[in-house]
C-alpha cells in the first residue's frame, strides 16, 4: 500500500492554491473591462494571497521524509479509477513556491506594459498560475495531464495576443510542438494504466514493475512530451520563437516555470516509473544534454536579439539540468533540481530585466543598445547580478546548481562532465559579451536619457536578487527539502545496491 502523510494543515491547502487564482480570474471576469486598475489590483492581491498561502508549505513541510505531504484525495471519475489526488514531496514543493512568486512578479511587470485586452491578460495569467501549481501537485497521472495540457491555452493566448511582431507564428509553433509531444505521452499514460491494473495513481504505479521493452517504448513516449517542454536538443526550436515573441510576463513564465515541467516530468514520471529504461537510456540522455549545453551556448554567440539570446541560453542551461538528472546520483539530481529553480529565478529575472528596458526602447536588437550602464546604473547593477548568476559565479545560485550537476555528471560519465563543463566557458563568453554590448561601451544615442528603474520595477526584481544570493550562499535551505525525496527516487531508479550506501551516508549526515 502506498504511504503518504496526511495533510495536517486543517484545510485543503493545495486545492486552495490551485483554485485561488481561478477564483481571482472569475472575479476579474465579472469586472468591467474599463476598470483596469481594479483588474490589476485584484490580480496582484490574488497573486500575493496565493504566494502567502504557499509560504505555509515552505514552513510546514516535513523535510525528514520522502513521503507525499499535504495529501488530498477525492473521488473524481470512479469508473476509470481517476482520483483528484494532490500532494507534494521534496522534489515538487519548491516549484510551487517558484510558481506563486513568479506570478506576482509577472503581474507587476505587466502593470503598464499591457495596454490592450487587459482583462483577458490577467485572467490568462491567473489561470496559468493555477494550472502550473496543479501540475506540480498532481499525484494522479490524469490530473497531471489535464493541468499540463490546460496550461497550453493561456500560454497560447499570452504569446499570441500580447506578443511581439511574429507572435502568431511563435504561439502556434509553441502550441503544436508541445501538443504533439504531450499527446504521445497520453498514449503512454493509458498503456501504463492498463498494464498496472487500471490506476493513474502515480504512487501506486511506482510500486509496479514493468517489462523492459515496454519501459523503453514508454520512455520515448514520455520523452516526446517532456523533452519538448525542457526543451532538449533537437526539439528546442520552438523556444527561441516563443520566448522572443512572448510578452515579458509570458517569457518569464515560460522560462521560469513552464520549461521546468519537462525536467520535472522526467523526475516525477520517467525515472521512477521506468527505472530500467531510464538507466538504459542514460547515455543518450547525457549525450543530448551535452549537445544542448554546447549547442545552445555556441548559438548564443551569434544572436543579435536580446530575448533570443537568453532563450538559447535556456537551452544550454536546461541541458545542465537534464545532465544532472540523468547522472542518476545524488549530487546530479539535487543539483539538477536546484538548477531548475535557479534557472527559473535567473532567466526569469533576465527576461523581466529585458522587459523593463524593452518597455522603454521597444527594441530587442542588441546593437541598438550600448552604454546603458551610464544612464541606468541601478538597472545595470541588477542585471550584472543576473548575468553572473547565469554564468554560475560562486555566491550566486547558478554556481551551486552547476557545480553539483557537473560533479554528479562527472561521476556518472566523465566525458559528459568534461564536455558540459566547457559549457561554463561558453556561457561566460556569450553572457559577458551580451552585457558588454548592452551596458558598456559608448552610450548609444538611442538609449541616452532613459529613466532608471522605478520603484515598481525594483520591487519586481529585488526578490529574485535576494533569492539568487540566498541560494548561492546558503543553499541548504533549499537543498534540505530534497534529500529524502531524491534518495528515495534514486533507490527506485537504481533498484537497491548503491542507494543503500547512499542512505547510510544520508543518515549519518542527518544526525
Amino acid at each position: 500500500m502506498v504511504q503518504t502523510m496526511n495533510n495536517t494543515m486543517g484545510f485543503p491547502i493545495l486545492s486552495m492554491l490551485i483554485f485561488l487564482p481561478a477564483v481571482g480570474a472569475a472575479i476579474i471576469l465579472l469586472l468591467n473591462r474599463a476598470n483596469e486598475k481594479a483588474i490589476k489590483m485584484v490580480s496582484l492581491l490574488v497573486g500575493i494571497a496565493t504566494f502567502l498561502l504557499s509560504l505555509l508549505l515552505f514552513t510546514n513541510f516535513d523535510k525528514s521524509t520522502h513521503l507525499m505531504q499535504f495529501v488530498e484525495q477525492h473521488e473524481w471519475i470512479p469508473s476509470l479509477n481517476i482520483t483528484y489526488y494532490l500532494g507534494l514531496d521534496g522534489i515538487s514543493v519548491l516549484f510551487v513556491l517558484l510558481s506563486t512568486l513568479v506570478t506576482i512578479l509577472c503581474v507587476l511587470i505587466s502593470w503598464e506594459s499591457i495596454k490592450t485586452k487587459t482583462k483577458e491578460f490577467f485572467i490568462s495569467l491567473l489561470v496559468m498560475e493555477g494550472a502550473m501549481i496543479g501540475v506540480f501537485c498532481s499525484l494522479d497521472f490524469m490530473l497531471f495531464y489535464i493541468f499540463w495540457e490546460a496550461m497550453l491555452i493561456p500560454m497560447y493566448l499570452l504569446i499570441g495576443v500580447w506578443g511581439g511582431p511574429n507572435r502568431v507564428y511563435a504561439a502556434v509553433k509553441f502550441f503544436l510542438y508541445t501538443l504533439v509531444g504531450s499527446v504521445l505521452m497520453l498514449v503512454g499514460i493509458i498503456v501504463l494504466y492498463f498494464y498496472a491494473g487500471r490506476t493513474f495513481n502515480i504512487l501506486e504505479l511506482m510500486t509496479k514493475a514493468y517489462p523492459f521493452k515496454m519501459q523503453l517504448v514508454l520512455f520515448w513516449a514520455f520523452f516526446a512530451a517532456f523533452a519538448v517542454k525542457v526543451p532538449m536538443f533537437p526539439v528546442h526550436t520552438w523556444l527561441p520563437d516563443a520566448h522572443t515573441e512572448a510578452p515579458t510576463a509570458g517569457s518569464v513564465i515560460l522560462a521560469a516555470v513552464l520549461i521546468k515541467m519537462g525536467a520535472y516530468g522526467f523526475l516525477r514520471f520517467s525515472m521512477p516509473l521506468l527505472p530500467d529504461a531510464s538507466r538504459a537510456m542514460t547515455p543518450i540522455m547525457l549525450t543530448l544534454s551535452v549537445i544542448a549545453i554546447i549547442y545552445g551556448g555556441i548559438i548564443c554567440l551569434a544572436q543579435t536579439d536580446l530575448k533570443r539570446l537568453i532563450a538559447y541560453s535556456s537551452v544550454s542551461h536546461m541541458g545542465f539540468v537534464t545532465l544532472g538528472i540523468f547522472a542518476l546520483n545524488t549530487q546530479g539530481l539535487e543539483g539538477g533540481i536546484l538548477q531548475m529553480l535557479n534557472h527559473g529565478i535567473v532567466t526569469g529575472a533576465l527576461f523581466l530585466s529585458v522587459g523593463i528596458i524593452y518597455d522603454r526602447t521597444h527594441t530587442r536588437v542588441i546593437a541598438d543598445y550600448g552604454g546603458v550602464a551610464s544612464v541606468m546604473p541601478i538597472y545595470a547593477s541588477l542585471f550584472i547580478v543576473f548575468t553572473l548568476a547565469s554564468i554560475g559565479l560562486p555566491a550566486t545560485n547558478g554556481f551551486i546548481g552547476e557545480f553539483l550537476i557537473l560533479l554528479g555528471g562527472f561521476t556518472a560519465n566523465q566525458w559528459a562532465g568534461v564536455l558540459a563543463a566547457s559549457g561554463i566557458i561558453i556561457g561566460a563568453g556569450y553572457m559577458l559579451w551580451l552585457y558588454q554590448r548592452v551596458f558598456f561601451m559608448e552610450t548609444n544615442p538611442k538609449v541616452a536619457g532613459l529613466q532608471d528603474v522605478n520603484m515598481r520595477e525594483l520591487i519586481t526584481l529585488l526578490p529574485l536578487v535576494i533569492l539568487i544570493f540566498w541560494i548561492g550562499i546558503y543553499p541548504n535551505t533549499f537543498l534540505s527539502f530534497m534529500h529524502p525525496s531524491v534518495l528515495h527516487l534514486l533507490e527506485r531508479v537504481n533498484g537497491g545496491g548503491a542507494p543503500a550506501v547512499a542512505a547510510n551516508v544520508m543518515t549519518q549526515i542527518l544526525k
Partner: protein
C-alpha cells in the same frame, strides 16, 4: 382474427414525438408567431425525456428495443433537438424562411433517429433511417431561393439514396442468407450455421459498413458532407452534424456488434482503414478551408473518425466511449455553430473564416465562447472534448489498438492547427469591419447550456461517463 395490443410503453416517447410533430403541422396553420412552435417542441422534449427514462422494454415482436443504449442516444437526440430549436428562430427570420414545417420536420428527423437507435430489425432500421434522411433532405434545402441550399439538398438526397440502395442490397443479401431481418436472429443464425467466413456475408457486411459510413460521413463515403453542411441552413448544419451522425453510430454499433458480432475480426479490418482515413482526410482537408461551416464539416468528419475507434474496439468500454463522445460532441459542435449563426445578419453571411478577425475585440464574450468550443473540439483539457477523446483512446488501447490511437492523437494534434486558427483570428488580429451580432434569447440560452456543459463535463465527467457505461450494460 384477434390482434394482440402491442406493449406501447417502450415506444411511448416516439408516439408522443409523432403526436407533437403532427400537432405542430396543424398548429402551423393557425399560429402566426412560428417561434411558439419551437417553444412547443421544447416542452414536448421535456415530456419525451421524462418518458424515455421509463421506457425500457422490447415491443412489436422484438422489432423495437428500448434499452440503455438507445435511451442514451435518444438523450443525445433530445439535446440536439433542443439546441437546434433554440438556435433556429432568429436565423430563420433573418433568412426569411420562418415556416412552421421547419420544426415539424426537425421533430420527424429526430423521430427517425430515435427509431434507428431502437431498431432491432433491419426493416425498422431502414425506415427510421429514411424518415430521418428525408426530413433532413428537406431541411437542408429549406432556403429554397438559395442555390447553395438547393445544391446541398440534391447532393445529399441523391448520394443518400445511392447509399440507401447499397444498404438495401446488403439487407437483401443478409436476408437471403439468414432468412430473417431481426438483428439478434441474424447473429444467432450466423454462429449456429457457421456462416462466419461466408464471402457473401462479407459482401453484405461491407455494404452495411458502407451505408453506415455514409451516414456518419466516414471517408471515402464522406464526400457529400462538406457540400451539404456548407449549403444547408446553419442550424440544420448543426443539427445534421450531430443527429444523423449519432444515429449512424447507433445503428453501426448495434448492427455490427449484435448482428455481425461474430465476425468482428473481419469488420474491424474494414473499419480500421476507414477510421484512419477519416481522421486523416477530415483533419487535413479542414486545414485549407476558408468557409467556417465547411471547416466544421471536415472537423465533424474527423470526429467521426475518432469515434470509429470506439466501435473498432468493440468492447463495452469502447461503445460507451462512443456514446460519451457523441454526447459531448453534440454540445461543443452546436455551440460552435451557434456562434456561426450569430455572425449571420441580413446581407452578411459571416461564414468566411476571415470574418472572425478581431472578434475578441469587438465581441469579447462571443469570442471567449468560441474559444472554449474550439479548444474543446481540439481536445484540450479542461474542456469536455478532451475527456471524450481520452476515454475513446483509452478503450481503443485497452482493446489492443494502440497504433491506431497513436495515429489518432497525431491527427488530433494536427487538428489543433485549424481550430487554433479561429482563436488566432479572433484574438490576434485586428477587426476589419464592425460585425453586428445577431443575438436572440434562444441563442443565448443555447450558448449558456453548451458552454456550461462543455466546461462542466470537462471538469466533472464522472456522471456522464457513468451513464454511458450503464447504457451499454443492457446492450
Amino acid at each position: 382474427m384477434p390482434i394482440a395490443m402491442p406493449n406501447l410503453i417502450p415506444v411511448m416517447p416516439e408516439l408522443v414525438m409523432t403526436g407533437v410533430a403532427i400537432i405542430l403541422l396543424m398548429a402551423e396553420l393557425v399560429i402566426k408567431r412560428k417561434e411558439t412552435l419551437g417553444f412547443l417542441s421544447l416542452i414536448s422534449v421535456g415530456l419525451i425525456s421524462y418518458l424515455l427514462l421509463g421506457s425500457a422494454g422490447t415491443t412489436f415482436g422484438g422489432m423495437f428495443v428500448s434499452d440503455g443504449y438507445s435511451t442514451f442516444f435518444k438523450l443525445i437526440f433530445m439535446a440536439n433537438l433542443v439546441l437546434t430549436v433554440l438556435i433556429s428562430p432568429k436565423y430563420l427570420q433573418t433568412m426569411r424562411i420562418n415556416f412552421g414545417e421547419y420544426y415539424a420536420l426537425t421533430l420527424f428527423a429526430t423521430l427517425g433517429m430515435m427509431l434507428m437507435a431502437s431498431a432491432a430489425d433491419i426493416i425498422v432500421l431502414y425506415l427510421g433511417l429514411e424518415l430521418m434522411a428525408l426530413s433532413t433532405y428537406v431541411l437542408a434545402g429549406f432556403i429554397r431561393y438559395d442555390m447553395k441550399s438547393n445544391e446541398a439538398a440534391i447532393k445529399y438526397l441523391l448520394l443518400g439514396a445511392f447509399a440507401s440502395a447499397i444498404l438495401l442490397y446488403g439487407t437483401s443479401l443478409i436476408y437471403g442468407l439468414t432468412g430473417t431481418t431481426n438483428l439478434r436472429d441474424i447473429a444467432v443464425y450466423i454462429t449456429h450455421n457457421g456462416l462466419a467466413k461466408n464471402p457473401l456475408l462479407m459482401v453484405s457486411m461491407i455494404f452495411f459498413a458502407v451505408a453506415f459510413s455514409f451516414k456518419i460521413a466516414a471517408v471515402p463515403f464522406h464526400m457529400w458532407a462538406p457540400d451539404a453542411y456548407e449549403g444547408a441552413p446553419t442550424p440544420i448544419t448543426a443539427f445534421m452534424s450531430v443527429g444523423p451522425k449519432a444515429a449512424g453510430f447507433a445503428v453501426l454499433g448495434r448492427v455490427f456488434l449484435v448482428a455481425f458480432g461474430s465476425v468482428k475480426t473481419d469488420w474491424s479490418v474494414i473499419l480500421i482503414p476507414i477510421a484512419v482515413l477519416t481522421m486523416a482526410i477530415g483533419n487535413i482537408l479542414a486545414l485549407s478551408q476558408t468557409n467556417i461551416k465547411r471547416m466544421l464539416a471536415y472537423s465533424s468528419i474527423a470526429h467521426a473518425g475518432y469515434m470509429l475507434l470506439g466501435i473498432i474496439a468493440g468492447t463495452p468500454a469502447g461503445i460507451s466511449s462512443v456514446l460519451n463522445y457523441m454526447f459531448i460532441y453534440a454540445f461543443m459542435n452546436i455551440g460552435a455553430f451557434a456562434i456561426v449563426i450569430m455572425l449571420r445578419t441580413e446581407g452578411f453571411a459571416g461564414e468566411d473564416i476571415s470574418d472572425y478577425e478581431g472578434l475578441g475585440k469587438t465581441h469579447p464574450t462571443a469570442a471567449a465562447l468560441m474559444l472554449v468550443f474550439m479548444f474543446s473540439l481540439t481536445g484540450i483539457p479542461p474542456m469536455a472534448g478532451f475527456m471524450g477523446k481520452f476515454y475513446l483512446f483509452m478503450s481503443a488501447i485497452n482493446a489492443g489498438y494502440t497504433w491506431i490511437v497513436i495515429v489518432a492523437v497525431l491527427f488530433s494534434a494536427i487538428s489543433a492547427y485549424f481550430y487554433l486558427r479561429i482563436v488566432m483570428l479572433m484574438y490576434m488580429k485586428e477587426p476589419k469591419e464592425v460585425i453586428q451580432l445577431n443575438t436572440s434569447p434562444g441563442i443565448g440560452l443555447a450558448l449558456a447550456v453548451t458552454v456550461s456543459a462543455v466546461i462542466l463535463i470537462g471538469i466533472l465527467p464522472a456522471k456522464v461517463l457513468a451513464l454511458a457505461q450503464q447504457a451499454v450494460t443492457s446492450f
